[in-house]
Symmetry: C2
Subunit: 414 residues, 2 copies
């Protein structure tokens, strides 16, 4: 097998450069969809792609496609990619390793003089993170057609700004009808990502090959109580939205503990109090709840239990509620031939590895509706992710890029 030369210093320097486009002080990274920093990061990324001599297009949501043309451009391509948006106060590797690592993989193939039969295409997905619109994988959902143009047109952020206005303001003015991809676009899709968990590090392994992605569900709950002066309104007549919310927060934790599933996780990551003054009774609370498991029945059992608890608490406390299930997606299984290709490349390179389940949510979950998929993981120090301390060594990233490049080369000649 050809060994590739991965230009690790170039790649790491690019990861560090991209981290400077941020609304949080380093080492934290905050990069929200269509923000000034996101726009500046996109300008910078386009230049890297043009420097690599790739063909580029962007769709009506800002999903970006960079293609190395194969010797038979009529064949479905091999896809790779990830995202560059970052939740508030997170780190510099989540998503970015799959975008800049994917670019480096393509450059390594070019520099080794490898000319694949199928084209190889890097995708930078718009908004894998749910920060702005409350739904993860916005770009890939739309590409897969599970999020329709009419639904996109109806979406607003928490300030009431319209997705359609925002994306046009960011320069993506085409019709939203053009975002959905045909199933003939890709023959396979493979995403490089940091593990965001401690398993590879704990087992001292270099590479993870993802066999399935856990099924996430997201709820948004708005509780409507009664406000008033915290000093003058006596306890008996109160309808305090925050005390109701705190019962729900407790139950979300218990739902995971009592599910009986070791992979069950349930989290209230967002809780906003209105009006939010020390001497004012909370009249409105917004919660966003994230519930996952590798088993669909267990995940749905937790969702149903939490929904029932919300009803019980709100009935007892006379609290109004708007409950939305923002998504309740099915798990996905990786394509056996991609697992096999990645596994044989990893073995030939002599890297230690294991096959594992991804408990985190990725664009690959939606790409799986278009073509066979898989993912390659590299270790995360202490399992940290979505925080400034997120870290993967330069060598570990380079190994992931090498496995990705050679797996894509193999798939591109099938």
């Amino acid at each position: 097998m050809t060994r590739l030369s991965i230009n690790t210093p170039r790649l790491i320097s690019e990861i560090n450069q991209l981290a400077t486009f941020s609304d949080a002080p380093a080492p934290a990274v905050t990069r929200i969809l269509y923000s000034d920093q996101d726009q500046a990061a996109r300008v910078w990324l386009r230049q890297r792609i043009l420097d690599a001599g790739l063909t580029m297009r962007e769709d009506a949501l800002g999903n970006l496609f960079a293609r190395l043309i194969g010797s038979d451009p009529t064949l479905p391509a091999v896809g790779t990619g990830s995202h560059i948006d970052a939740i508030p106060h997170s780190g510099k590797y989540d998503g970015v390793v799959g975008v800049l690592g994917g670019l480096e993989a393509i450059r390594a193939l070019q520099e080794a003089g490898i000319k694949p039969k199928r084209s190889i295409e890097l995708v930078m997905f718009t908004a894998e993170e749910p920060t702005r619109f409350g739904i993860g994988c916005l770009g890939s959902r739309a590409m897969a057609g599970t999020l329709k143009p009419a639904e996109l047109l109806a979406m607003t952020d928490s300030d009431g700004a319209n997705l359609d206005d925002l994306r046009k303001g960011a320069g993506f003015t085409q019709s939203l009808d053009t975002v959905q991809l045909s199933p003939e676009t890709y023959s396979s899709f493979i995403e490089l990502h940091i593990e965001q968990g401690p398993r590879l590090e704990r087992d001292k392994l270099q590479i993870g090959i993802v066999t399935s992605i856990a099924a996430p569900a997201t709820l948004r709950v708005v509780l409507h109580g009664d406000g008033g002066h915290a000093g003058a309104t006596l306890m008996p007549g109160r309808r305090d939205a925050l005390v109701a919310a705190s019962e729900i927060v407790q139950d979300v934790e218990r739902a995971a503990h009592e599910s009986g599933s070791p992979d069950a996780v349930a989290t209230v990551g967002l809780l906003q109090v209105h009006p939010g003054a020390v001497n004012s009774i909370p009249s409105k609370v917004t919660l966003e709840i994230d519930i996952r498991d590798t088993r669909l029945d267990s995940r749905d059992g937790m969702v149903d239990r939490v929904l029932a608890k919300i009803e019980e608490v709100c009935e007892r406390r006379k609290i109004g509620r708007d409950v939305e299930v923002l998504n309740r997606d099915d798990p996905c299984q990786s394509g056996p031939h991609i697992i096999k290709a990645a596994e044989s490349v990893t073995q030939e390179l002599g890297y230690s590895y294991k096959k594992l389940v991804s408990r985190a949510y990725h664009d690959t979950l939606f790409m799986a509706q278009l073509c066979p998929t898989a993912m390659i993981f590299v270790p995360s120090e202490n399992g940290y992710s979505h925080r400034p301390e997120e870290y993967t060594t330069d060598e570990e990233i380079a190994r992931g890029v090498e496995v990705l490049a050679l797996t894509m080369a193999k798939l591109a000649n099938e």
Copy 2:
């Protein structure tokens, strides 16, 4: 007794004009200390005071003093006043009725040709609400000397902006050493205010005469847990700051219910989650807790119970914490001669009334450290306050102004 002519249309028009200086859409009012809207409201108020021909001064924090000079200007004055700052999404009467009603009371005395012996002084206190600096009655605390210049210099808002820079930027550039008043400034102080509770309305009474103010305590608690990806971090190792916070919210409510005191109230009005993304475990939560009772021992019992609960939860969940008792003030008793004066005026006017305790926190609590004080309450529809629905009828406001004016005239001739 002279009956006064209260110019109710003028007063109500002014209350409505002042409500337009707001960072929230009407009918909600949001007016934060030293914000552009607060500054614009101050410009407008100065003009009303100058139009009334009063002598005006402002101190180094923006406390504003408007004086009707008495026939013996060397005597301590009779004071009245309240505040015009408004917590987010509150109403247009809280505080404002005491400032514009106090101004109308002075104008009514002028227009009736009454020349009091003592001067009568209207005070507009800076920041009675704790919104910006987390402490209520900023201006009156400083005037009473319970908040020292060195403490003021150390204060910052939640964005890290310095109180000293902000007040200078707002045009109040004198030395902070000049804010504290001498006990000889006032012979008595009497504040007109909406009740912010349902008692007068329920008993169909027109006037409340406040005999004491309940003792408030405020805690600020910052919980430090561990962040991470909500999908990839399994439950057993988690240190989720929000789940810990939700136990504390529950206990704050229970503390009031289990205190055995019918006047006990305990509220978590502010709770902020960091980083605040649906797929991120909360690593930091800030809570502000407000605990009050008319009995000091009961109030302190609740504070101690909540402090103990915070320790217990944080030990069990391995959560770091910074706990600050921002204030823990003593209740105040009204001056018997002021109660007597207000009571006899109210009786002579033929208005129905009762004597009652104020469960809400007012600048009068701190003025009581300088001179004898009391308060006059007018009814609040449904007891609502700190919300857009706050409402007191024009006639009820006018009755309160009439009682205030004649009580001040009586006190000013003592």
